[in-house]
Symmetry: C2
């Protein structure tokens, strides 16, 4: 084995130091690298290929639902950012400011977009005149910047990649339906394609997006028992439309304001994949977004016919539309096993002289390490079935972890006891609706309100914090 | 016809005011809009869909050739930009500077990337160690910012979208071959997919990319006789590798520097499409990148069966992989004809009651207005053949225009005479190799050296400017 090739290095064990385990995977699976640009990350080809697969699936879904892509400027003049008061209050403290173009000071400084509601509103004011111009269903794939103090790859980075949908509708009902529809798109993408179970819910008023009437989100439980907000969908009513003077002539020839939504998901989802499915041997990727779905490792590859058969096998799988790679490098099979386990390739196929003789190969699924002998006849169909089984198996494993770590609590003492006994997780508990109780719960137990789940359960009559009559069941957790 | 729907408005005639004609098309064909962000443009859905089609074709071609996509940070710290002296001299005067994050002044200001050589080099220094790590063939699709004084949609905008390939190779020969290969990719994309004839050449030393040893470019002649630099490909030698201390251990176990290229094309190509193919009725799009390839206009659509047949026709074309739209809005056929001519849809199909009776439809190609009766039997194949004929026809038309406007000149007086007699165009003329003659030619005739064509012709023995022995044939023109 060549000395200058990297060996597959050990990563920190999850249970020893989850944060270090996470960054080890980001680096060792070649997802990211750091640079001299503090707080930003380089998304390396293997990581970016995951993002491209995510984009492809979501973009097609958005377009099926009638959305069109558009591209808005990177910059927002300060006066434009200030047009909607709640919005500027929420974002101004965390934007990057451009003050000079070349050697000249700008007459008005501009921020690098942290989100583009203001630009979309300005444009909508230009192009919306009549009810015939509605709805407008726009989406943008781009980079945004938020000047975070503490950063972590994918989870919280000063620059990140995302899509932001911005839509305008004739009626509040239609805009509300869009908000919920896009939440459903995100939820089904997570559950079906990413094999990540999510809870759909509405944020409490203290946790809404700056300027929104309602913020919906999906929350996913990570392996360490903390929650990740995986995507959000906002209903704005006509607040921004009023601030930006967007009006249209309705069917009765009256001048009225349209109703607005926005919705987004980011490269953060890659962090969610890592922390939901990863293990001590590295990344575990859901087949739908894995850059390599099947890795073929030839065994005793110097023996006659092995590489020819392995190549033919690769070509058959590729022809069936599977993203497949055959590694015929001079590393040992053991090295290759470890390398592609680190990279989270969902299915490994081993093919050696004896397998070829017997018309079979060995298939090993990454998420559970299960090994099976599989006939080479109909191998493309079998591989597809295995990948589908992997998807279901990964989802069930993640769901079982979430269920094991979901605790129903009626008092803050029960919350503390549950977390101490079983570790971090989701708390289901009733809430009176007061922000003071959210604050007190956070201060006393460490968990914050993540969302008011759309599917409510009645766990009792009183708020688990103050004991007064409860209004809603809330999902509580520590969060990323 | 509804009163509040926009009528198709007249645009300025090309011959009257080419610049105004150009911006009229950008606006009236719904390609762009302006915003309060000066010098930047909103790329509207119809314009962005052209860019998506361009991306799809080029991205697939880059990947076939072994390139991988990556994502680098948006910002470059000032000290990093300064590492390569020629590079910083070229770009510093035109970058946007970020000086504050939130309310805090940064300890070191950062520019918004005008191009990413410096970031790639820093990364390559981290990840390249051995000859086994080479070549590295990376590409990035992103936005960049250059603080231009005068801006025009697509052609020169403070922010634009592009791809930038950055590659590292073990040998100079391999890097040179990559540089030329990528120039060929751009050239064939322009000629085949965009139907734009181009001249491949090398920039003269005065016109090289900041920090490059050689800059190759493709130049296309626009309808008004000015040249557009449509894409560039640079060979860097090991200059940046030395400045950034990038080394690898070669097969003889010696520590050496790798050799580098970069290459890019931008949203500017959309400007090239407009100015090569457009006419007084609007945009004319090459089929490969047209968001709508075929528009079906039902005639007398209130009559029984017309809309059903038009819908069935649309479904047949869509099933054959054609990007097709059927417009059954309540606008008149004449309005629709003008609207989709403005939008440059390559092929229009009209279908009325009499056509249906006779099992035919009317096909009109946008670039030449030719009308033909076509059988509905095998219509999908016929439509594809027509689109292919459009592609060839558009290319030939553009080539004829270029040939009509290409003048061979032996003296500066001949240059002036040719431009006066025939209007702006390409000048082929011999050059001694001195920058002074480039400057004098520009000052006296208005044309600058665009490139030294790869395919050389010997037009004479002396420089058309100074009369001294000539070294190369140069392509001269006014330029965008």
């Amino acid at each position: 084995m060549a000395k200058d090739k990297k060996l597959v290095e050990q990563i920190t064990a999850m249970d020893e130091d989850f944060a270090k385990w996470y960054t080890d995977i980001c680096k060792k699976a070649d997802l990211i690298d750091y640079s001299s640009v503090k707080g930003c990350m380089i998304i390396r080809p293997y990581g970016y290929a995951i993002w491209e697969n995510i984009q492809k699936i979501l973009d097609a879904r958005f377009k099926e639902l009638g959305h069109e892509n558009i591209y808005m400027p990177l910059f927002i003049p300060e006066s434009l950012l200030q047009r909607e008061k709640d919005h500027v209050a929420g974002f101004a403290p965390e934007v990057a400011w451009v003050t000079h173009g070349g050697s000249e000071r700008l007459t008005e400084r501009m921020c690098v977009r942290p989100t583009s509601e203001t630009l979309f509103c300005e444009h909508y004011a230009n192009i919306i005149n009549s009810y015939r111009d509605l709805p407008k269903l726009y989406n943008q794939w781009c980079n945004v910047v938020r000047w975070e103090k503490t950063t972590r790859p994918f989870l919280r980075s000063r620059e990140f990649l995302w899509q932001e949908g911005h839509t305008m509708h004739a009626t509040a009902e239609e805009a509300r339906a869009e908000t919920v529809q896009m939440l459903e798109v995100y939820a089904s993408f997570h559950e079906q394609e990413l094999a990540i179970p999510v809870v759909k819910g509405c944020k409490t008023p203290s946790d809404k997006f700056a300027g929104a009437e309602d913020t919906y989100a999906i929350e996913a439980l990570m392996h360490d028992g903390k929650s990740l907000q995986a995507a959000t969908s906002h209903y704005f009513g006509d607040g921004f439309a009023r601030a930006f003077d967007i009006t249209y002539t309705d069917r009765e020839n009256k001048l009225v304001h349209p109703f607005q939504t926005s919705w987004g998901c980011t490269t953060r989802m890659i962090g969610g994949i890592i922390m939901t499915h990863g293990d001590d041997r590295g990344l575990v990727l859901p087949p739908a977004v894995a850059p390599i779905q099947v890795i073929i490792v030839p065994i005793a590859q110097h023996k006659e016919g092995v590489l020819e058969h392995a190549t033919a096998l690769r070509d058959r799988l590729a022809a069936a539309g599977i993203r497949v790679k055959m590694d015929d490098s001079d590393q040992s099979p053991g090295w290759k096993f470890a390398e592609y386990e680190m990279k989270g390739v969902p299915l490994r196929i081993e093919l050696g002289p004896r397998d070829i003789e017997q018309g079979q190969c060995v298939a090993v699924t990454r998420h559970n390490g299960e090994k099976s002998f599989v006939s080479l006849e109909g191998i493309a169909d079998t591989a597809k079935e295995l990948l589908e089984a992997v998807r279901i198996g990964m989802y069930e494993k993640a769901l079982a972890n979430r269920e094991r770590r979901t605790y129903v609590c009626h008092t803050l003492d029960e919350v503390t006891a549950a977390l101490e006994a079983n570790g971090d997780g989701f708390i289901k508990g009733m809430w009176c609706g007061e922000e003071a109780c959210e604050d007190e719960t956070k201060a006393k137990t460490g968990v914050g309100s993540r969302c008011v789940p759309l599917v409510q359960e009645n766990l009792g009559e009183v708020c688990m914090c103050c004991g007064k009559p409860a209004k809603k069941m809330v999902l509580w957790a520590k969060a990323y």
